[in-house]
Amino acid sequence: MQSLLKFITCGSVDDGKSTLIGHMLYDAKLIFADQERALELDSRVGSTGGEIDYSLLLDGLMAEREQGITIDVAYRYFTTEKRSFIVADTPGHEEYTRNMAVGASFADLAVILVDVTKGVLLQTKRHTRICALMGIKSVVYAVNKMDLVDYEETTFREIEAGIRQMAAEYDFHSQFVIPVSATAGDNVTQRSEKMLWYHDKTLLEYLETVDVAVGEEDGFFYMPVQRVCRPDRTFRGFQGEIAGGEISVGQEIETLPSREKAKVKSLHVLNQSVEKAGKGRPVTVELDREVDVSRGCVLHSEGDIHLGKLFSCRLLWMDDQKLVAGKNYLLKVGTRLVPATLMNIKYKIDVNEGTHIKSERIYKNEIAVCDIACSEQIAFGEFKKNKILGGFILIDRVTHMTSACGVIRHPLRRDENVVWHEMDINRQLRGQHMNQTPKTIWLTGLSGSGKSTIVNELEKLLFAQGRYTMVLDGDNIRMGLNRDLGFREQDRIENIRRVAEVAKLMNDAGLLTLVSFISPFRRDRERAKNIVGEDHYIEIYISTPLEECEKRDVKGLYKKAREGKIPNFSGISSPYEPPADPDIVLDTTGKSLEESVTSIMEQLEKYL
């Protein structure tokens, strides 16, 4: 039975990664004839003139071939007499570092290319750090382009010393430094005749024989539950892949987070009933009693698994948007998906020197140490001991982007004095928490124009979209908060001022505030706008004409006003000043409520 080695190749731009792998496949006659034909065809039309360009074998995307760089990870599969290989060829360009990390998270070993004419570069250091971060324990440094320095040993030894010094800070199980020429093929699959001073294995020989499992133990049984299998009422099985240790029928296990004990009643590896199963097997576990277990829970026995909400982690930021403490994400660890808040950034780790830098903000491709708080108790492990329950991703709740990947360092307890990032919990953060931008939507218009009815419908729609809202209605406010105010000019001004201040408070709380007030004077609305803040204020003018409002006269107020029983009635005995430049205008005459609300919603979208 052949073993499988998953490895990645990485290095900086033009180090020749793709060429190295291409050469390995080519020499070992591992490429199929038609790919070879396509390769030669591509080379002839390409810019390399005459010779076969091996990198064309791997750089599969059109943009990559046009630009001559690798953008994304390419996976290649080959088998020699000694071993099967999956190689992920990863991009070296800084902009695509996250794609390199994708390859690293998949691999057991990394081949890092170093250009002998340039030595250890910033990218070499960064890639080494990322490989270590993602859990790779075996690293090969291929010092490439030896042909350009006349295959000189002294040049190689200098660079080798630099590499060993750099790699010393990591806890790699194995390291190997080898001089090669990817284009000429020296020491790739065949021993170089130009470097007789080199006596060790060729690159391929090394890859065929290296043991990457060194230092790994079988350990205790644990399994994150992927799904509950319920074909009928008599059977309830928990399906998942055994992440560590082994399990057998009759064995007692514990459920997490519910902490119940139960014994294994039956065990299936796929469709086969078995007595026991070990690490890596996809199983269905049936227990002897009812337990509170669903997707995202963990079954284990005597495992070193933590149960809690707080942990310290190291993460690689991958999003174009910068990381800011206080934001809420979806966190996935094992099979569990929970809302989690990035509480604070402890420090940033300089990718070159490994020094800790105090920082408030983390940008794409940077590594940081942070504290995270989950909204519920979850089962997790420490990455260095438990890769499956120790690695996590953060998903942006708005863009759905995988914003970061991280590894758990250790749990934190409340009494360990976990400090929140020194920040103001402000309007923006509260809004982010609710996935919305707080705004005040101010509806103005004559009595009977339809403001209140529209506002009620509008709120229902916004609510259905999952938004958090609050309505401030003129009549209601006058009965409560503004009970002490009459209809004189100073009262009217005070009335609007208070409403605007309340709307602003509601916005600060993260809410979308809908205000339905006649607010007939332009000056009053201007003041309200200033209080709320121009950027947060949306003005909707319900422009239903006076004749129509008076015709409706739902509350009989127009009649009374015409009879002179109500002084200062807007539109009759007091002027109504229409807005000069409202954001949205709607005349409800001849429109159904649904039409009116739909029209407003369509126009409102762009402001929310």
């Binding site: 039975m1 994304d72 994708v102 992927q226 799904r227 892949e241 890596g280 996809p282």
Partner: protein
């Protein structure tokens, strides 16, 4: 504990992916194209959820030009395992008489790519399993296991979501979908070895047999029914041929072979000098043609 073999590791990975999709995605479907990769996918789905049936339907996009035997095979499998098998054909294309002889690349677009998009829209699937493998073609080698498609089902290769460890991010927006490739890390050789190990039933077109064929543009095309149009000078001959991939018979090239057992096929495949897509006529058009079609929504 016994170490897992290479094939067992690949099997476990595919099953892990299928279970993740079934648990996290709202409305998954498994695309079923009747070929050997689909047969492996179906087999894995039956094992993954046992003793439950696969908790999603299967979808076959029928161009109406498949080998007759494929259709029989499909219906027999659906019956045997009690699957919900949805069959979709682009009726508009049929009415317009779109066929592989007159319409070339447009045929593939209308009857396969467009038909698939229509079917996904019709049933509002949010996740679709495909049997694609990374060893098939250069742009596929770059594709993630969870491959996100925008509202018009297009793929953006320069902006793929990072896929870390096995922590798949399945979050999508309304109208978007994700294509999932559980066999991403399998090679053609792995597929054949798995078929042998698990004794998976596949259509007999994969086995060499005397069949009526014509030689056309360097390909061997089978005359599967009387709709086959012969070009001047072409003569139907009986040759012992087999097929390395199955699709629309006028577009699927066979190879002359004596391999009429699984072992013989595997032996031929392991010593193969041309990778399997060579016999799929459309892929030879130009380097990058596959990527272009994927961007447009091809599987």
């Amino acid at each position: 504990m016994e170490k897992m073999s290479h094939l067992e590791e690949l099997e476990a990975e595919a099953i892990y992916i299928m279970r993740e999709v079934a648990a996290e995605c709202e409305k998954p479907v498994m695309l079923y194209s009747i070929g050997k990769d689909s047969s492996v996918m179906l087999h894995l789905a039956l094992k993954a959820f046992y003793p439950e049936k696969p908790p999603f339907p299967f979808l076959h996009v029928d161009t109406t030009w498949k080998f007759g035997e494929m259709i029989e095979f499909r219906d027999r499998m659906a019956e045997k395992y009690g699957l919900e098998m949805l069959v979709y054909t682009n009726q508009e294309g049929v009415e317009q008489g779109i066929n592989p002889f007159d319409h070339g690349a447009a045929y593939t677009d209308i009857m396969k790519t467009q038909a698939l998009k229509q079917a996904l829209d019709k049933y509002q699937f949010t996740a679709a399993f495909g049997g694609g493998r990374r060893d098939e073609e250069k742009s596929r080698a770059k594709e993630r296991i969870f491959s996100f498609r925008n509202e018009s089902h297009g793929w953006d290769p320069k902006n793929q979501r990072p896929e870390m460890w096995r922590l798949f991010n399945t979050q999508i927006f309304q109208g978007e979908e994700v294509r999932v490739f559980p066999l991403s890390n399998w090679t053609e050789k792995d597929i054949w070895q798995y078929i042998r190990k698990e004794e998976i039933e596949i259509p007999s077109l994969y086995f060499a047999k005397e069949r009526p064929v014509v030689f056309r543009d360097g390909n061997i095309i089978m005359v599967d029914d009387d709709r086959m149009r012969l070009r001047p000078g072409e003569e139907v001959q009986n040759k012992k041929v087999r097929f390395r991939t199955l699709g629309c018979y006028p577009l699927t090239g066979g190879v002359e072979s004596q391999a009429d057992t699984l072992d013989a096929i595997i032996e031929e495949t392991l010593g193969a000098v041309s990778s399997e897509r060579t016999s799929r006529v459309i892929d030879n058009e130009a380097a990058g043609s596959m990527e272009r079609r994927k961007r447009e929504g091809y599987f």
